[in-house]
Symmetry: C2
């Protein structure tokens, strides 16, 4: 459904009206949202034009002690809560996909606006959620789903609505950035830093969503959808994590005046005939130390946007945690509540461009290929000719002697993924190539 179809929406309740709020989830973010709704209630009333009133809180476990929370507000029936007549606005901070999807759909269909911080939900089900919001003429806002308090959803949806975005590239997962940053600065291994991240509470007991890139992929899908007015879901994002990044890779990055970052990249591709397509991908990549993304340290996030008229923009800040996430949620709450009081509706999903998703093999980038080869005359020529046959041209070659053979590090010019993949396959078949130690992309 394109924006053109979003015609009707509900009139406002009128200035001074109270907005009834349902809060779904009382984890770190939910508790902080509830606390701030109380602490800042006067400010919110002034900014909205009417007071917010939390009228129900859905939790999984009613018996758990929750000091300071009015027990009468608690319920374990989220579905029943969101349909209640006295609820205008639903804040979803449960997490997960299937259950929140069911509840959020029910809320939207019942004509309630929804604010969510749930990136996995939006990345997987933007289509039917947006359709339900359109049908009811209500808002579905999710600034907190990408990079917490750093405003990127708003700028892409609104500030850059008059521009043509060509690329969005960012560090959008704090856990992996913490691990890679520590590996770079302390020379430690992936396993050691993952253990430390878990201890510090940066990583979950099951770290897969972070370290395998799925969390970043959800965010990439959301960013690509907004940037290119095309529906991109998590499944469309080529995703590689950081589990295989070794101490040797970090050392190789240093030798190339670079660091390694897990990047989410959303790109508008244009082929020789001018046909446009969209690529969204997540992988660890070498980033030159002179690039601003290289200096994004610890668990910080940063997003670069390159647009035709605006040029290059960067947004930087704390991309996770209860406070920053609550800030983004509450910004959306104020905007949505204003619409409930005064009438009107924020920009909905915009997918009019309907660009095709590019085949990952057609994406072009540069590569850092680290291999172990026989140390004899003619090997370099053999290796170089394999690259040349696949149309991959070389930018730099560095060879060093090892106890057993030689190490050959090649940096390519921009080449197609498919061509690079063929090159690597062919290199593996060469007798002279003993091992391909790593193939890492280079960006920025």
């Amino acid at each position: 459904m394109t924006e053109t179809a979003q015609a009707a929406f509900k009139p406002g309740k009128g200035a001074g009206s109270t907005v009834g709020v349902a809060l779904l989830g009382m984890g770190t973010v939910g508790a902080e949202v509830l606390r701030l709704l109380g602490e800042r209630s006067d400010e919110f009333t002034a900014r909205i034009g009417g007071p917010l009133e939390v009228r129900g809180i859905a939790v999984g476990d009613l018996s758990k002690p929750r000091p300071g929370v009015d027990r009468d507000l608690l319920t374990d029936d989220a579905l029943g809560l969101v349909k209640r007549d006295d609820i205008d606005l639903v804040i979803e901070v449960i997490g997960g996909i299937d259950y929140p999807r069911q509840v959020v759909l029910a809320a939207l269909r019942a004509g309630k606006s929804v604010v969510t911080a749930n990136k996995a939900l939006i990345a997987a089900h933007a289509d039917d959620l947006a359709a339900a919001a359109d049908e009811s003429g209500v808002d579905l806002f999710f600034e907190a789903a990408v990079a917490a308090a750093i405003p990127v959803v708003g700028p892409l949806r609104r500030s850059l609505a008059g521009d043509k975005v060509n690329q969005v590239m960012g560090i959008v997962n704090g856990t992996t950035n913490f691990i890679l940053d520590a590996m770079y600065h302390r020379g430690a291994s992936y396993e050691e830093m993952l253990a430390e991240a878990t201890e510090l509470g940066y990583a979950e007991a099951d770290p897969s969503a972070d370290v395998d890139g799925y969390d970043a992929a959800s965010k990439a899908a959301i960013l690509a959808s907004l940037a290119f007015h095309t529906r991109v879901s998590g499944e469309n994002v080529h995703t590689e994590g950081i589990r295989d990044i070794s101490v040797e890779d970090i050392d190789a990055a240093k030798a190339a005046n670079s660091t390694i970052k897990l990047l989410a990249i959303c790109e508008r591709l244009v082929d020789d005939e001018g046909k446009e397509s969209v690529s969204a991908r997540v992988y660890p990549a070498l980033v030159p130390t002179s690039h601003p993304l290289a200096s994004v340290s610890e668990s910080y996030n940063a997003v670069f946007v390159e647009a035709e008229s605006a040029g290059r923009l960067m947004f930087y800040g704390n991309g996770a945690g209860g406070g920053p996430t609550a800030s983004a949620v509450l910004g959306d709450v104020v905007a949505v509540a204003r619409n409930i009081v005064h009438g009107g509706r924020g920009p909905g999903e915009s997918t009019y461009a309907e660009l095709p998703i590019a085949d990952f093999g057609d994406v072009s980038t540069r590569y850092h290929v680290d291999m172990q080869v026989d140390d004899r005359t003619g090997v370099l020529a053999e290796v170089a000719s394999v690259f040349a046959e696949q149309g991959v041209s070389l930018k730099t070659v560095r060879q060093e002697e090892l106890r057993d053979g030689a190490r050959l590090v090649v940096i390519t010019h921009s080449a197609r993924e498919a061509d690079l993949e063929n090159t690597v396959d062919k290199l593996k078949q060469l007798d002279a190539v003993m091992a391909i130690n790593s193939v890492i992309r280079m960006e920025g």
Copy 2:
């Protein structure tokens, strides 16, 4: 008028309706806006839900050749144009204050929404313009007025609407940043670099608005108003420019591992009794080279925001020029046009907090004081006791021998402006102090 009073606004024209646009001004930005309105018209229609149609262009000189522009659209009667029934949305990119104020007021009173890039206008007359917009229930948007395409107005108005902003600090004038950056990196004088900036088109023939800080002061007023929900006008901003920054000051900055930047600083002050006030100020200041603002080079802009929940955020990009300014204008145009088609209204001026403007003397910061003193025993004690008497404590003292006397460079801990000013007055009265070479604040 607070947001609570913004109740009524006009219903939408309906999906598919054409939005009639009047463009005021055909300078660099106006011409680029017009070009992009043509080039991106399909995208705009899809994003808005109805087409934009430029129905009139007001210019100062009708006889000037304007290739590619339909002459039938041109008029020199801006006031007549904005009142026409077929105009829904007015884009003001004339510049100046009095004349655009008259035209924008007329447009708002006639029920037309306005998008402007005019920082001086907004900083001087936000009060009656916002009141007129409120009365008519229309939008008055001005993202382009601060830092061009870098979204800062939107994030402060919307994304951070649920947070409590404590400080906004930024480099918001590209011309002065170009000059200071070149002085720092090339060791050149202010006069040389101003001449070069003028030649490159960065500086106007009369550079006063830039180099005396007035342009930055307008932006500081706008940022402070948005951040603190308090009306702050350009007159409330303590403003100092960069004309007096010498090669010696730059050298002193380097010796202190710092660079010099013209900063716009908006701060929420809290006194001992918890009473809040707002400070907005513009002055050149030492910024440590390790601070992200120090590496903002050439004519780039960057804005730091520190909010209670979000923590520190940074926005970075190209803060001037036809393309970036047009990008910001057109982002606003899409948002305003959506409201015209579908109904609804963006957040208006929000001044409910009505915090008092702090006296500049009550602002605290650190200082770098560079003076020439007699080179004899007891002078340092004399000087130090003057600081101590005014309650200004010293962080570092560096003394070096000169041919004639000694040079004494003092860096203070945070101190009140008024106390520092008294200190400097007293120092000047000391026989031992031959000259105060410079007093520069330190931030970041």
